[in-house]
Symmetry: C2
Subunit: 373 residues, 2 copies
């Protein structure tokens, strides 16, 4: 917060930061934080906005600058309002601080500092180039927007997404073990789309022994996607030499632990910044009980089984007051969407311990139900 | 189908019937069918529409005629297009056939005959009064609209609604039995609102012995609603003399059976046309397994328990191919709504046995996710 100046923000900048926070929700959660940017003209008029669409794509600032270029808008003397400190590192997409300087932008207002060591310094670079930099506007909202991501970065662990494909009565397989397919083709496609974006996919040895899954990202025709996640199996049992998950591409790893935190630590060391936990229910339960799930996606099929394998087993909860509370998450396309006949529910860990007698309806939930198609 | 005339419908009438079918969805399911009506002027122009808002309120035709009166629209020489044969009986709301004649409407187009004996004859009354009557337009769609209601009428049993208040992982109580409240205050209010509209509320003896519920319809302050459902308990065990459910108003009945069909038959004999089954899970399972649930409402709290009482137990299903398929139901406010922090899911029994490999996404599902507030 070196650059914070109390009361130094114009009304237009305050409004722009609100819009930037809203724009940020367009992006998906994962290895990178949600970031939104709005550029104001020298007269305070809204010129253009941008947001980050996920790892490997343009940062919000670069996205906004690109929008301006496409629309022939001159950004000389403009102000960039962005929810996170512009980066200073030449990653996959080039440093935003330099792009801002090159665009002729003369003032940058941002909400919170980038917590990464390699990236830190964007504000310094901008200041050194003569750009007026002010930080701290809507810092609380911006920190809340990426609460789980900041936590993961601080803990030096990957961001963790859990997918559950279940019936209305939360079964993931029938009594005889049949489970293909509980979800609609559209849900399966959504799941495979995410597999192509993450760094690693994690299951337990039990799942390997029972289901022998491939864990690859595939398109609807079954062809392998261009980008494949690391296939990780955790547990103390051996992974059979002929297990399909081993594959032949060297993208397989066995994590000899039952501890979710240790598994994440091992995956982080392998370079994974976004991990999807796919099951089974014992692994899901262990991650949930440990508070190590940052994002929960439930594909809810309008079907009933009445028996079979429950999606979750023991979370160590014995009374309702200790139930895990989740918040509806509007990021990345909405908290509730139709995927064919299924509903896709998107949630993030609840903010606080709620009062069960008088829960305050979250403002997220109110606006979270959106059309799917 | 006495009055069907192939090809005797104008383009305006066909369009109006589509609109009437759509309008019908505004009403709730229950003792009465969903009905929509559109009135066209002598020139075929859309004048006004109406729909039935549930038992005890105006029928769709009367609703449309009232709208016209409020707007000062003269219906002389108009055409009434309605999804169900106008009634002929003076029930709580007066016969629609007479209201149509009195309004000066000179043509009635309806989709399907009213299956009730007491009501049948509306078309004859209209014809006898010189009104031009044509039936059968969109008969298939209109029958499908109220499929479960027609089935219930034909079987001389009440329409059955099931409410489930569950966590994301489909638990209705924690391991220690605590269950108040899994749902949000808004969901509880919704449930009590429906209790005030139905004829009977049904639980098993087990629920009475374990939870000792009141089963009354109450407003948010706990005050009794004006209309109270019959409180029915089914099962072979005695209901304790001091069970709260007995109350003091004589609105209690013990149904000494474990058979859902027999319980419904007994309730029908008591005059009940809309029954809400509230649980427990054994009773729910028995009704679901018997195919005796016409409407399923799930209050889905964004919480996880991981253990405790599942919403459903055995439905007699052992393999995924036999799973019960449900359709999202847009009637009565939408298939998916926000109620505070909860989602309210509204479903009806699936139309056909689906192909699990290649399910066709229902057109209902696509448009079914709607904003809640």
């Amino acid at each position: 917060m070196l650059f914070r100046r109390a009361g130094a923000f114009s009304e237009a900048e305050v409004t722009a930061m609100d819009a930037a926070l809203q724009a940020a929700l367009g992006g998906p959660r994962g290895a990178n934080p949600l970031v939104g940017a709005v550029v104001l003209g020298p007269d305070g008029r809204h010129l253009v906005s941008g947001f980050h669409r996920g790892a490997g794509t343009a940062h919000a600032e670069a996205d906004a600058i690109k929008q301006a270029r496409l629309q022939g808008i001159n950004l000389e003397g403009a102000t960039m309002v962005v929810t996170l400190e512009p980066c200073n590192h030449a990653g996959r997409t080039g440093p935003c601080s330099q792009a801002i300087i090159d665009a002729g932008i003369t003032r940058v207002v941002y909400a919170v500092d980038d917590p990464h060591d390699p990236a830190a310094g964007g504000a310094r670079t901008l200041t050194a180039a003569g750009v007026d930099v002010a930080a701290g506007l809507a810092a609380g909202e911006a920190a809340e927007l990426n609460r789980e991501w900041f936590d993961a970065v601080a803990a030096k662990r990957p961001f963790v997404t859990v997918h559950i494909a279940q019936t209305l009565d939360s079964r993931i397989a029938a009594v005889d073990g049949t489970s293909q397919w509980i979800s609609s083709p559209e849900s399966l496609r959504d799941n495979h789309g995410l597999r192509g974006l993450i760094d690693a996919i994690l299951v337990g040895t039990e799942t390997v022994l029972v289901d022998n899954p491939r864990l690859t990202a595939r398109d609807p025709d079954g062809a392998l996607a261009a980008s494949q996640p690391l296939r990780a199996v955790m547990g103390l049992r051996e992974v059979p030499a002929d297990a399909t998950v081993r594959g032949t591409d060297g993208r397989f790893i066995h994590l000899p632990t039952r501890d979710p935190a240790e598994a994440l630590s091992l995956l982080f060391a392998e370079g994974a910044r976004h991990v999807m936990v796919e099951g089974g229910s014992r692994i899901l339960g262990a991650f949930l009980a440990a508070g190590l799930v940052d994002e929960l996606i439930v594909y809810l099929a309008p079907t009933l089984l009445g028996s079979g394998t429950p999606a979750l087993r023991d979370l160590g909860i014995t009374t309702l007051a200790d139930a895990q509370h989740w918040d509806w998450d509007d990021a990345g396309g909405g908290a509730v969407r139709s995927l064919g006949r299924d509903l896709r529910l998107h949630l993030r860990p609840g903010r606080t311990t709620e009062n069960h007698e008088n829960p305050t309806p979250g403002k997220d939930a109110a606006g979270s139900v959106t059309g799917g198609h």
